[in-house]
């Protein structure tokens, strides 16, 4: 187990380095002149030569690319996420202020997706091709096609028209004001949770169908156990292994999906900050946020792999 953990962490570290290079290449090298990215092509032509030189020197953009890259990585390693080009607040403060809300949305949506997806999958797998199975399969295919942010807009509109209700626009922390915090978080969590539940239900159904056919399940039935304990204690634990892996991957996609969904709900989380950074063309904030999201995604995958290895000895001893 320990050698597996060390191997997985070493690969993770390598991936983080690769990710940082890709982020730097995409956001610093690809735009050509970063000032063009910051000011837009029209704004850039209005700058005088002296202004351009001053901005380049201020932002440390006139150094060689390798030096810029190492300085950026060094800053992040020291916990310095830099500063927005347009705002006074540092990116680190912004992440600490807005991050918890997005993290809460992501966690809640994962819980919801399991609560919805797994029961649906069990009902589906126990009676394949029944009416219930076909309905739940169609619903899961439908939810794969519905864009989450659109569903979010519809929910906001429906709440307004039917109940005259609008969620609070500020996001107080869970501890300070749990009730209004829940009102802010629940909408995005439901939308993102339903999207994931569709994937979870599909995966859990096919995995459960496979496990039910295994010999050991038949043995358990043959020794006289009734159907219910066989499903819950014998079949389900094994069937859930691929679902855990999928759920980890989906959690990463939820972090990305929360960007348009938070815009649809007007949730003041990290996803909304990402949207603001994109619309202001704030390359520096973007660079750090994209890197942060990717690192979180990599860490989540490591966590999922270790969980699976802990649960499944076949992987640990490979």
């Amino acid at each position: 187990m320990y050698s597996y953990i060390i191997r997985r962490l070493a690969f993770g570290a390598l991936t983080v380095i690769g990710v940082s290079i890709i982020v730097f290449l995409v956001l610093r090298v690809l735009p050509g002149d970063p000032l063009v990215a910051l000011f837009g092509p029209e704004g850039f032509t209005k700058l005088s030569e002296a202004e351009r030189a001053r901005y380049m020197a201020d932002l440390g953009l006139s150094d060689p690319l390798a030096v810029q890259y190492l300085r950026w990585v060094g800053d992040i390693a020291r916990g310095n996420f830099g500063r927005s080009f347009f705002r006074a607040e540092s990116v680190g403060e912004m992440i600490l202020r807005r991050g918890p809300l997005t993290a809460e949305i992501a966690m809640l949506s994962v819980i919801l997706s399991w609560l919805v997806g797994i029961p649906v999958a069990i009902v589906s797998a126990l009676r394949p091709n029944s009416l219930g199975d076909n309905v739940s399969r169609f619903l899961s295919i439908l939810f794969l096609a519905v864009p989450g942010f659109w569903l979010g807009m519809l929910i906001v509109l429906a709440a307004l028209f039917l109940f005259g209700y609008r969620a609070p626009l500020t996001g107080p922390s869970l501890l300070a004001d749990p009730w209004s915090n829940l009102q802010v978080v629940i909408g995005p969590a439901v939308v993102l949770g339903l999207g994931q539940a569709a994937y979870i239900a599909r995966m859990a159904r096919s995995s459960l169908l496979e496990v039910i056919r295994e010999d050991y399940v038949r043995t358990a039935r043959a020794k006289g156990l009734s159907r219910r304990p066989v499903i819950t204690f014998h079949a389900l634990p094994n069937a859930l292994l691929p679902v855990i892996t999928l759920s980890g991957i989906l959690l990463g996609f939820v972090l990305a999906g929360s960007i348009p969904v938070e815009r649809a709900f007007g949730t003041p989380g990290l996803g909304y900050a990402m949207f603001t950074a994109v619309s202001e063309r704030d390359v520096f904030v973007m660079q750090n946020l994209v890197f942060l999201y990717a690192v979180v995604f990599v860490l989540l995958n490591i966590l999922v792999d270790l969980t699976i290895a802990w649960l499944d000895p076949r992987i640990r001893y490979r």
């Binding site: 995409v26 990215a37 096609a145 807009m153 096919s206 972090l255 990305a256 994209v290 999201y293 990717a294």
Partner: protein, 306 residues
């Protein structure tokens, strides 16, 4: 007994004549068997075809100019003159939805054509040659897959500056790793087969083996992957438009229309939200179900792989 046994023992090799036979079957016969096997997929395949037709014939079908404002009919709910209503500057929503299909489909097909294909060819090469090239390719693909696709697409679209071509490039790059992974796995299992070995023994060059013996077997998984990616690409394109890094306005795209609706006052009118989103959902649903049907028809064993 002696005749049937080798067939049961080597399912992969008997698959080759079956594919040969299906190729000889006429197109209409193939269509008929597809409809019989999965009527639901065939129905949604027709819807996908209808959406493509709608995109091609948009100027004929649209009742109004998508960019022309009618200042006497601003923010009007659906009525008999404008079936889907008008937006805040009096543009006909129905016409904009019809024209929006052009951007969505062009981006989706472009991204899949470049991204999935490039990834598939890369996976073919890295799976076939193996060795150091394969290890390096696997690392690069892993780095690319460490980003949720929307975030990578956002970063690339923002870095390159908004535009039609950049959106295609941004989405295409997020498709590369998937094509690479799937096709590489297929190639790894193919290249050990005895007919590939036989070709190598006869002195065929690497290029010839790849093109004549391995590539044809990759067509089925590629088609399945490509149809699924069409749906994903449409959703990413809409999200990019919604976040303001897609194809720049005033070009009508479904994502832009949804983003526009948020600027239409404190409460967005429901018809500005409902119709573009419905268009996205129906189109993606059609391509996904068509993909499911193609997968079931071409190879049920790939159900888990893609």
């Amino acid at each position: 007994m002696t005749v049937t046994e080798p067939e049961a023992a080597y399912p992969v090799e008997t698959a080759a004549p079956a594919i040969e036979r299906s190729r000889q079957r006429s197109v209409t016969g193939g269509m008929r068997s597809f409809i019989r096997r999965s009527p639901l997929s065939a129905f949604w395949g027709c819807i996908a075809a209808a959406v493509i037709l709608m995109a091609l014939a948009a100027p004929v079908l649209a009742p109004y100019e998508p960019l022309k404002s009618d200042f006497r009919a601003m923010s009007k709910p659906p009525n008999e003159r404008h079936y889907f209503g008008t937006d805040q500057i009096g543009r006909d929503v129905l016409s904009r939805v019809i024209h929006g299909s052009r951007a969505s489909l062009a981006v989706a097909f472009g991204a899949v054509l470049f991204g999935t294909t490039l990834g598939a060819l890369w996976g073919l090469a890295s799976g076939y040659f193996g060795g150091r090239f394969d290890i390096l390719s696997q690392r690069i693909i892993e780095f690319l897959q460490s980003f949720p696709d929307l975030i990578l697409a956002m970063a690339i679209a923002m870095a390159l500056g908004a535009g039609f071509g950049t959106v295609i490039v941004a989405i295409a790059i997020t498709r590369i790793p998937f094509g690479g992974r799937v096709i590489r796995a297929v190639v790894l299992s193919l290249k050990e087969l005895s007919y590939v070995e036989a070709a190598r023994g006869l002195g065929a060059s690497h290029l010839r083996i790849m093109a004549r013996h391995i590539l044809p077997q990759c067509v089925a998984p590629y088609l399945i992957l490509a149809t699924t990616h069409l749906g994903v690409a449409i959703i990413i394109e809409a999200a990019l438009g919604f976040l303001g890094v897609g194809i720049p306005p005033p070009t009508p795209t479904w994502g832009n229309m949804l983003a526009d609706s948020l600027n239409a006052g404190l409460i967005p009118p429901w018809w500005l939200v409902l119709f573009p989103g419905l268009a996205i959902t129906i189109t993606v649903l059609a391509f996904n179900l068509l993909g499911d049907g193609i997968r079931d028809m071409l190879d049920p064993r790939l159900r888990r792989a893609v």
